[in-house]
């Protein structure tokens, strides 16, 4: 075997080795980049969002001592419970308003008779509940709460001559804020001025009548 043949064989082997190396390298690069792409497509694209969602869901489930998978049922149950409590609270407010009405002297002179009831610790829901019950009285009742809310209730017999929304509008003109509702019942809030004064102005503009302070004092 002469040198030429040896060199030829060595060259063939070197070429085959080099080819195999580059073929394997190319295959590896291709496979690994495909794996990366699949990972990003199948996993990470959704994981970033899913991760945050899962974390939030886990936190919520932990708070409720429930499994993440049970969360929808628990949330529905809690919502129903909340609605039930709300109904119960409304019923209590109605009874409470009835009780107040039976203890406050609602008789009023004047034509039409106007009452202003002020209670510093009342909130808009209390004011609304009280006003709703006051709609059964043959008078105009203006209820003022401590959170700058107020309500105007007009008795059925006066509904032809007075409008609750009109009276509420007069109050917001003086005290600011806004109001809305029907001719029988209007609710307002967000007053920036003195509601007391505004209500008294309205009261005096309509008829000489009394202001009722259920607690701590009643100036009726």
């Amino acid at each position: 075997m002469n040198n030429t043949i040896l060199i030829g064989l060595a060259s063939v082997l070197a070429l085959a080795g080099t080819t195999a190396y580059w073929w394997r390298r190319e295959r590896l690069v291709k496979e690994s980049l495909t794996a990366s792409r699949d990972w990003e497509t199948n996993t990470n694209a959704t994981t970033a969002v899913a991760h945050e969602e899962l974390r939030a869901a886990t936190k919520a489930a932990k708070r409720l001592d429930a499994r993440v998978t049970d969360l929808p049922e628990r949330v529905i149950a809690l919502d129903e419970e909340r609605r039930g409590l709300r109904r119960e609270l409304d019923a209590v407010r109605e009874r409470w308003a009835d009780s107040w009405l039976s203890h406050v002297d609602m008789t009023a002179d004047g034509d039409p008779p106007v009452r202003v009831v002020v209670f510093d610790s009342w909130e808009i829901d209390d004011v609304r509940a009280f006003a709703k019950r006051a709609m059964n009285e043959d008078a105009i009742t203006v209820v003022v709460g401590g959170d700058n809310s107020f309500a105007v209730a007009v008795g059925d017999s006066l509904s032809d001559e007075c409008s609750a929304t009109e009276i509420a509008g007069s109050i917001t003109e003086c005290a600011g804020g806004g109001a809305g509702g029907t001719d029988r019942l209007a609710i307002g809030g967000g007053a920036t001025g003195a509601l007391d004064t505004a209500c008294r102005n309205v009261k005096h503009s309509r008829i000489q009548s009394a202001t009722v302070y259920p607690n701590p004092e009643n100036d009726a």
Binding site: L28, V29, S36, W39, T43, N44, T47, K62
Partner: protein, 343 residues
Amino acid sequence: MTETSTLTVRSVCPDRTPEWQTFVETHPDATVFHTAEWLHAIETVFGYEPRHVLLTDGGTVRALVPGFVVFEGFGWSVLNPFCEYGFPLIGEGTMDAAVLSALQRTDDTRVVKDVSWSGVSGYTTTDFGGVPTGSSIRLSIDRSFTVLWETVFDKDVRRCVRTARDHGVSVTDGTVDEFYPLYLETMRRLGSPQFPERFFASLADAFRESVAILLARHDGEPIAGVFLFEWGDATIIWTPASKRTHWDYRPNHLLYLEAIERACQANRSVVDFGRSRRGSSVHGFKAQFGGVGYPLMSFVTPPHRAGRASLDGYGRLSAVTPYLAPVITNPSVGTRLKRFIHE
């Protein structure tokens, strides 16, 4: 968003870098394998050259990536050895791709061990090659232990736990001295090189109350054990060990149950059962506890060296290694060999 060009790569020593520790403590996805304690224990025991990097932008830490230079048979790579999670911790408002690109500027062969829940993305745009390495099962502790026991665990778990208790197996806290012989026996059975005992001792010293060793005992004799990391809001069951002669007593079920109960009591969010291959008996065992499997992937740059992250070779060797166990796990051979087998 922080752009690539504005990130500065800084090599640091985590246990002497307060910013590293603060970033890890405050990052929601940080694992025990990102901590300075873990990295310090590896460096001390195995003597790898550290190559941990902190990526900053105008002095503000934006990301960090742990890594050691390890020998891979045909070259050297930078990775976080002996764990599943070596992904970059990236701060809010920083682009993942910017961090990954910055890593490529270091000219190392970098292996980033990631998992689907880490949320890190951008490997495709930065040309990292991916190699699947199995999956880790994680059980979300989003309910009480009683609820888990009754509704989440497979009925086989309940049956095996009852079997263990009926046989008088109990679980107690243990020490490294008690755990290590069990671990060594397990490694011999598998034909896999073992960690040196001082690695466990070093971890136990460094982490103190964040490490727990649980031992299942029968007639006072340890028959199985687990080495746990109870760090942050996760419990990681890192190294289980058992005596095959006592498997009928089901001590491993009892140990895992105890680990989960401890996690519930400590109000942790998750129990991580570690890596396993889908379809393997280990995977089946872990799946009985009702967790979710998350795919694990090692990303390598440059991509033509992706083969270095593959665990397939270990899988093929596992058919032979049990026969070579006396040599592989020899005290003077195994611990040295482990330095090169850092799956």
